[in-house]
């Protein structure tokens, strides 16, 4: 025999989680919905931040008319926000999302792989 017999070890240990997922067993489905809801919660959080931060602006301008002509330096605040500030903020939010979602996937992989033979 020139290589380890991988099937021999699995027979004694727990069934690999990848197989639970492949066979769509209850356990596999629990792990899948855990992954999906973690990702969806993260997405919802980021979208909510955007909806409040960006979607709140027209409302702010509508309800607090003073903000429409407020100036910072010589630049009116609405121009500063919409022409410049929005872009770095969008980038930071996107970066946060990418890191968090990669972390969720890494944890999922680690948990599933831990029960690999």
């Amino acid at each position: 025999m020139t290589s380890t017999r991988r099937d021999a070890t699995t027979r004694h240990g727990a069934r690999p989680l990848t197989r639970e997922i492949d066979e769509q067993s209850n356990l596999g489905e629990v792990y899948m919905s855990g992954l999906m809801s973690a990702q969806l919660r993260l997405a919802a959080m980021v979208l909510a931040f955007g909806a409040v931060g960006l979607g709140g602006l027209p409302l702010l301008f509508l309800l607090v008319p003073a903000t429409r002509s407020l100036e910072i330096g010589r630049v009116p605040l609405p121009w500063l926000i919409l022409a410049v500030v929005v872009y770095p903020v969008a980038l930071v939010v996107a970066r946060y999302y990418v890191r968090q979602s990669e972390r969720i996937e890494a944890e999922f992989s680690a948990v599933v792989a831990r029960r690999e033979p």
Binding site: G55, L59, P76, P78, Y87, V93, A94, V98
Partner: protein, 508 residues
Amino acid sequence: MNTAYGLAAIGLICLVTLAIGAFGLKLSRTTSDFYVAGRTVTPYRNASAIGGEYLSAASFLGIAGLVYTNGLDMLWFPVGYTVGYVVLLVLVAAPLRRSGAYTLPDFAEARLESTTIRRLCSVLVVGIGWLYLLPQLQGAGLALTSVTGAPSWVGGLVVAVVVVANVAAGGMRSITLVQAVQYWIKLTAIAAPAFVLLAVWFHDGAPGPASARDSGWVEPLGGLAGQGHPVYATYSLLLALALGTMGLPHVLVRFYTNPDGRAARRTTLTVVALLGAFYLFPPLYGVLGRVYLPELPVGVAADTLVLQLPGAMLPDHLGEVLSAVLAGGAFAAFLSTASGLTMSVAGVIDQDLLRRRLGRVTGGDFTVVQGFRIATVLGVVVPYAASRLIEPVGLATMVSLAFAVAASTFCPLLVLGSWWRGLSTVGAAAGLVVGGGLAASAVAATVLAGPIPGWPGALLGQPAAWSIPLAFATAVVVSLATPGRIPLHTARTMVRLHTPEDLVLDRD
């Protein structure tokens, strides 16, 4: 404006585009290469390509013209174009890539296991693609007229010919490279003149816009493009742009060229950075235009402000050179967006509408590549003809209508398809039909009927705020009513869409 310089710049851009295309042609040998660049494109180059493809006539010329004419409220356009990629990243970037779909109809068929839905999506892709190609060709006509005084049909024709030559000859590999280069051409072409013009402005003592006391221009909620009900219009536009990006036909293709879901996310992140950098500049032209060109000459469209401004600020040699640089950049914008759109529209026409018919007519006596080339010509000729027949309604308005249709159809399909196991085939189809029907009717009314006053005009001009929720609601309600029509392999598909690729799982 100096005609010779302008022509030289436009000619150079067209030649460079064709040359890179030809270079890519040498690299694309097999059919698989021809379509998807062999999936070996790095995230950074892919992001440049997405940026190059996405920054269209509406971005390069349209935003400055809108800001010039209507002021602050128009800044929501570039904001929405960028935020659209954040929404795409958060909701569908990785699942789209992991679905293995190359086009939107591919995704629909893989997820919903129905060829009817596939055909429905094919029709929508072609429709949205043509709607989006229209302003590119019109913009090219405007730009060439502004530079040379040539009749407006010439510019569109030049773009149409270069795009067909490039797409039909080189396919995706060359297009990816072309698009990546186009982003940097466009950024340079808009940024470098902007810095020179800013220096001139500071030199002049940084005068404020003549209309600074015109509160409708300088303050928010002045009304989008003369339509009433500014708060509604602002929210509706923001929704259309934020949710429409994911449904544009030329966006998904780029995700297929990422090696995995993780790379797809990182690519999207880079795209957000590249777009943000670009969009700092167009509004500057609009504001400086207010300072130096308080009145546009009669017969000059606001969409060509970017090309007029250097001449007004620097009435010498330098102004002419800058104008030529900007004209070249604008042509890069028309060419790249039109290429990307044509590529995806042609792909769908070829695969879903043409191939079987062609096979029947010729008895199978044609090659795959020949079919694709015929589809490419078809993909461009129709919008070009339409651009000659339909009165221009403004580049950015036209583009925002295309976004509204995409947001009302593909956004519900992609979001529910990626995250909701309960989506049934019938529900998805109903959502597409209702969303697409409503948004398309609103577009037709806006484009064909001319200005409509009051609430009807506002609702039809910016349909997204009501058509998107209705499309979502239809898809969900009909799905709940038809649980028996949930695709058989939904659970397996979800595994494929959401699990990281390093796990060895059954994904078929």
